[in-house]
């Protein structure tokens, strides 16, 4: 009997494949995610390990405000190097500095590949054991020379002997290219490399007489412990010594966080696709099982038990699930490559050292795919066991209604309500960690989707009637029939539409959040940016920019005021936070909503004044005059006194939790940098003024000016990129639901063979048949679309009600696009089934038994 069922599966190849696609796509996403993140992980790890290969220990500055050593870590005096070198067990040591260094292309613009870093560093002794680079051509740099990586050189046509611009902390410096290098065998993504000799690097990064790290090699036979102990005896207190392996792990910390975030993020979309896929599978199986009622009844007349029927269907699902999972697993490999390209295309080139296919990837993908299929098959399988043997002798037998059919509405209402309860608890519940919030929200959303899809059966008839109205106008008789067909099996229409509903609800939710963030950000900028004409930002809109750029702008004729916002980490009350500093012109450029204090606070901050946002004031019970003991990443600390408290607008402000004066900041921080500068000019924002600024910024290619409108657009463009990634990833779920519609239609056409034959016999043209199927498809898709959009708005509204910095804003245009997309999905899904229906041979269709 199981063999018979499996044979049947082969006999229904097309339907089986269409059903399997739903799982294949989801599993592909899961396996693709693992392959992608494993590959990036390996690439990053080899980068970090390779770069420490020649060292036994590494000395770095210890940032007082965070555990990882970012660019804000303090430097080490160069004199420490000699002390290290003279230690008895040290064989060799080398001091290095590094930082962001932009290569300037022949067009005068910084060479940037997506969001990848532009790394600059010293190469003190050419091919020393500490240098992870290989010289491909030319010589190591000396004096006013630079080596660049071969990939960048190739792409930008940089040759040995050329003179290129380099911008690090100061204005552009022109250096001669002495050689081309490469980093091991690892693709370093879109990163650019620029290496200098030590004095040049120190000058470029404004670290004269200072080092960022000292790489140490021990004499043979010296243990790590012994080496570290010796090093620790000579290094300054705000620095630390680690083994090379520890340092590599430390270097990898940030990227590991990023990779696990990326993995979770992508897996979530894989999960969504699988969830949608489970609806498609459940629906397809329900329909095929309904169509095989007589088959199951025949088994029963021959003495097959219910359990045997159940087993046959479960085995069938198991086979579909396994085959689909294996297929998905391998498509995932291709998808990983595709994702590399996708990230590349949106400006996020990832490093690559070959595709990694781990055993875990195969196991997880298989388990997830098979389990989802099995779970989805349970309900249809249980219903099949309820087919009575007498159905074998009855014409047109249908599946008996489920035992729980009459509790259906109540049950689905309870599921929906439970879903909303879980979601609300996740959103507003107290003392939930991030994980708790996400889990409650996830479970809530899941239940809501299941509940609404079940509940929607009740609304299918009126919805199809209303949404099918245009079809009756456009399609004539075919349209009328399409509408009636969509309404005749509400259960089926509802399940088919539900798959699309989920995708569209999530798309709508994302669009709502994006619209809310955009609107609140725009509002905030308009509120705060009251008296400036231009903002100076990094090319990518969020990196810090050298102070020299703002200084250059200040000298431009016609500039009346330049307000800088410095930024960095700080620590107070035992917590790290994002601190900022501002100079006195801020008072005439920004307008803050003061709870305590006034605009005058900007110029009264002095050496120990601070203004804070209201949330921080409430949290730590701070009033005017309260002290805040702040520690900066350099390790310096100082007590500041609250001079003002402001209410940040919904969309946030350029200021951090605590803002001090620029003068105090520069005294306490090494290498201060601006996040933004805002400029007021006589005459306002005119083309002439913009040209003047551009001229001044020419030597700072990473900086750019923007008017208020442009500034808003620039900041939002980052959001739009993220939004597009969401759309692309959610499109996967929509594609799964599209296959769901195709499958339902194919099965429906098969089921209505005789009926379609009859319609053709009484004079319906092939065209009209196609139209009938197409309209039914569009009506189904529209039901899913409308339900999804409404649900998305509700979910988005709830989320926005919880999140302080987003305002409720309906992205009307996007919603219209989504509705049109739903219609398009319907049309697309109908193409193939409609052709099949139109091709039916009338005579055969009528004789069909």
């Amino acid at each position: 009997m199981i063999r018979a069922e499996l044979r049947g599966l082969l006999g229904r190849k097309l339907r089986t494949i269409l059903t399997a696609v739903a799982i294949i796509l989801g599993v592909a996403m899961v396996s693709g995610t693992f392959v992608l993140t494993d590959s990036i992980d390996k690439a990053f790890n080899s980068i970090f390990t390779d770069s420490r290969q020649g060292s036994d220990a590494v000395i770095t500055g210890k940032a007082a405000t965070s555990t990882n050593n970012g660019s804000n870590a303090p430097t080490i005096p160069e004199s420490v190097l000699a002390k290290v070198q003279s230690l008895p067990d040290v064989k060799a040591a080398e001091g290095n500095v590094g930082g962001d260094a932009h290569l300037i292309g022949s067009n005068g613009k910084a060479i940037v590949f997506g969001g990848a870093p532009n790394l600059g560093f010293s190469i003190p002794h050419g091919a020393s054991r500490f240098n992870p680079l290989t010289l491909v051509e030319g010589d190591w740099p000396h004096g006013q020379e630079v080596v660049v990586d071969k990939k960048t050189a190739g792409k930008k046509h940089i040759a040995i002997g050329d003179t290129i611009g380099i911008q690090a902390q100061g204005p552009i410096v022109r250096l001669k290219v002495s050689g081309l290098v490469k980093f091991g065998n690892v693709g370093i993504g879109g990163a650019t490399l620029a290496g200098f000799d030590l004095p040049t690097a120190q000058a470029l990064f404004d670290k004269k007489g200072q080092l960022d790290e000292i790489d140490v090699a021990a004499k043979s036979g010296v243990s790590d412990q012994k080496l570290l102990a010796q090093l620790r005896s000579v290094i300054p207190p705000n620095s630390q010594a680690r083994t090379a392996a520890q340092q590599a792990a430390e270097d990898a910390k940030d990227t590991n966080t990023f990779i696990s975030f990326l993995r979770g993020f992508l897996l979530a979309f894989g999960g969504i696709a699988l969830f949608v896929g489970s609806f498609v599978i459940a629906n397809s199986l329900s329909i095929t099982i309904a169509q095989r009622t007589r088959e199951f009844a025949t088994y029963r007349t021959m003495g097959a038990t219910r359990r045997q029927v159940l087993r046959a269907i479960v085995v069938e699902a198991l086979v579909i699930g396994t085959a689909a999972s294996v297929t998905g697993l391998f498509i995932g490999l291709a998808l990983a490559k595709g994702l590399f390209r996708l990230f590349d295309a949106v400006g996020f080139t990832l490093p690559n050292s070959g595709i990694i296919f781990a055993t875990r990837t195969a196991i997880v993908s298989m388990i997830v795919g098979v389990i989802v299929t099995l779970v989805a098959s349970l309900r249809p399988a249980v219903r099949a066991t309820r087919v009575p043997p007498i159905a074998a002798v009855r014409e047109g037998s249908t599946l008996p209604p489920s035992r729980f059919a009459r509790f259906r509405t109540v049950g689905s209402a309870i599921v929906t309500a439970a879903g909303f309860a879980a979601l609300l608890y996740g959103l507003f519940g107290k003392h939930l960690g991030t994980k708790g919030v996400l889990i409650w929200m996830g479970v809530g959303a899941l239940l809501i989707f299941v509940g609404v899809s079940m509940l929607s059966v009740r609304f299918i008839r009126p919805l199809a009637w209303a949404l099918g109205w245009p079809a009756t106008r456009i399609g004539g008789t075919a349209g009328w029939l399409a509408r009636d067909n969509a309404r005749r099996n509400p259960q089926r229409t509802a399940s088919t539409a539900a798959a699309l509903m989920i995708g569209l609800a999530l798309v709508t939710l994302v669009a709502m959040l994006a619209a809310g963030i955009t609107a609140s950000f725009r509002g905030a900028v308009n509120k705060i940016w009251t008296n400036a004409d231009y903002a100076i930002t990094a090319q990518n809109n969020f990196d810090p920019i050298p102070i020299a750029a703002a200084n250059a702008v200040a000298k431009v004729p016609g500039v009346e005021a330049v307000a800088n916002v410095r930024t960095g980490d700080a620590r107070a009350f035992g917590k790290n936070f994002f601190a900022t500093a501002v100079n006195p012109p801020g008072g005439s450029i920004f307008q803050l909503d003061w709870k305590e204090g006034s605009q005058a606070v900007f110029s009264r901050l002095g050496a120990d004044g601070a203004f804070i946002d209201d949330g921080y004031a409430k949290k730590h019970n701070l009033r005017i005059g309260s002290p805040i003991d702040m520690t900066f990443s350099s390790g310096a600390h100082k007590v500041f006194f609250v001079r003002g408290i402001f209410n940040p607008p919904t969309g946030g402000s350029p200021f951090g939790t605590v803002t001090i004066s620029q003068a105090a900041w520069d005294e306490l921080n090494e290498n201060p940098e601006n996040l933004y500068s805002f400029v007021r000019m006589s005459g306002g924002d005119t083309p002439q003024n913009a040209a003047k600024l551009d001229q001044a910024l020419k030597r700072y290619p990473d900086a750019k000016e923007a008017t208020r409108q442009k500034f808003i657009d620039n900041q939002i463009s980052g959001l739009n990129s993220i939004l597009n990634i969401f759309y692309v990833l959610l499109a996967l779920s929509v594609i799964v639901s599209l296959f769901g519609i195709v499958n339902t239609l194919v099965l429906t056409v098969f089921e209505r063979t005789r009926e379609i034959g009859m319609l053709r016999a009484i004079g319906m043209t092939r065209r009209q048949v196609r139209r009938m199927i197409r309209h039914e498809s569009v009506i189904t898709a529209l039901i899913g679309g409308v339900l999804g959009i409404v649900l998305g708005i509700v979910l988005g509204g709830l989320l926005i009600a919880r999140v302080d910095f987003i305002v409720f804003s309906l992205p009307v245009f996007s919603l219209i696009v989504f509705a049109i997309a739903a219609i398009f999905v319907g049309i697309l899904a109908a193409i193939f089934p409609a052709r099949r229906a139109a091709r039916l041979n009338v005579l055969e269709a009528l004789q069909y038994e």
Partner: protein
């Protein structure tokens, strides 16, 4: 009723569909017994209740009154599982529309009841059966590659393969032309004569009923007449008398 050697008995069987004023009595107190090795035909015009009777005798449906016993078991007292096991062991079916599984070969279709019961066929009996139904050379064909008559032969072999206590045949010639139908009837008759297979056949075809050892005539849900083995003409005459 005489229950000596009876393998199927019905006592005061009634079946009512619907409730209240709309209720229809399809069967009103039918009693009968089928002896071992007997071929009984049930005849009657449309709506006489003959199909209902067969459904009840074959434990496909539950009576609203009365009892059915098959091989000594009171069907009404069996659980769903009990009925299922009863079907495996004691009941075979021949359907009007054959109900073959299109994805299985003729041989696999025939063996299906045994495989469901987890049993192995007796190779000799099976070979003899395939020869008897004339399908030895078509064993590997799919139903779609067989004619209607051949398909019904497969179905008959399938009903006989487990050597059940009783085979129920529901209009076995209803979907066949008269020549093919005659051959099928011959096969059914031979099954009883040569193999001693007890059989209950529901039909409205007098030709089909003429092969039976005994013909029961149903009208308005009750047995109206009973004939011993009779030629088709007699049966036809009786039919027109009762309706």
């Amino acid at each position: 009723m005489n229950s000596n050697g009876a393998v199927v008995t019905a006592t005061d069987l009634s079946r009512r569909y619907g409730e209240g004023e709309a209720a229809v009595d399809a069967l009103r107190g039918v009693s009968l017994s089928v002896g071992a090795g007997e071929l009984v035909a049930v005849m009657g015009p449309s709506g006489s209740g003959k199909s209902t009777l067969m459904h009840l005798l074959a434990a496909l449906d539950k009576p609203t009154g009365g009892t059915v016993t098959i091989a000594g078991e009171d069907v009404g007292k069996l659980s769903d599982r009990g009925v299922t096991l009863l079907r495996r062991k004691h009941i075979g079916f021949v359907f009007q529309f054959f109900n073959l599984l299109p994805m299985l070969s003729a041989e696999e279709n025939v063996l299906l009841p045994l495989s469901i019961a987890g049993e192995k066929p007796d190779p000799e009996f099976f070979k003899g059966l395939m020869d008897r139904v004339g399908l030895a050379d078509r064993a590997d064909h799919r139903p779609s590659e067989l004619s209607g008559g051949q398909q019904q032969r497969v179905a008959i072999a399938r009903a006989l393969v487990a050597q059940p206590t009783v085979v129920f045949a529901d209009e076995p010639t209803g979907n066949l032309d008269s020549r093919t139908g005659a051959a099928i009837l011959e096969l059914l008759r031979a099954s009883t004569t040569d193999l001693g297979q007890t059989m209950v056949m529901v039909t409205h075809d007098a030709q089909a009923a003429s092969i039976a050892d005994r013909v029961l005539f149903l009208a308005d849900g009750a047995i109206a007449r009973e004939l011993p083995r009779s030629p088709a003409a007699t049966i036809l005459a009786t039919m027109s008398e009762i309706s």
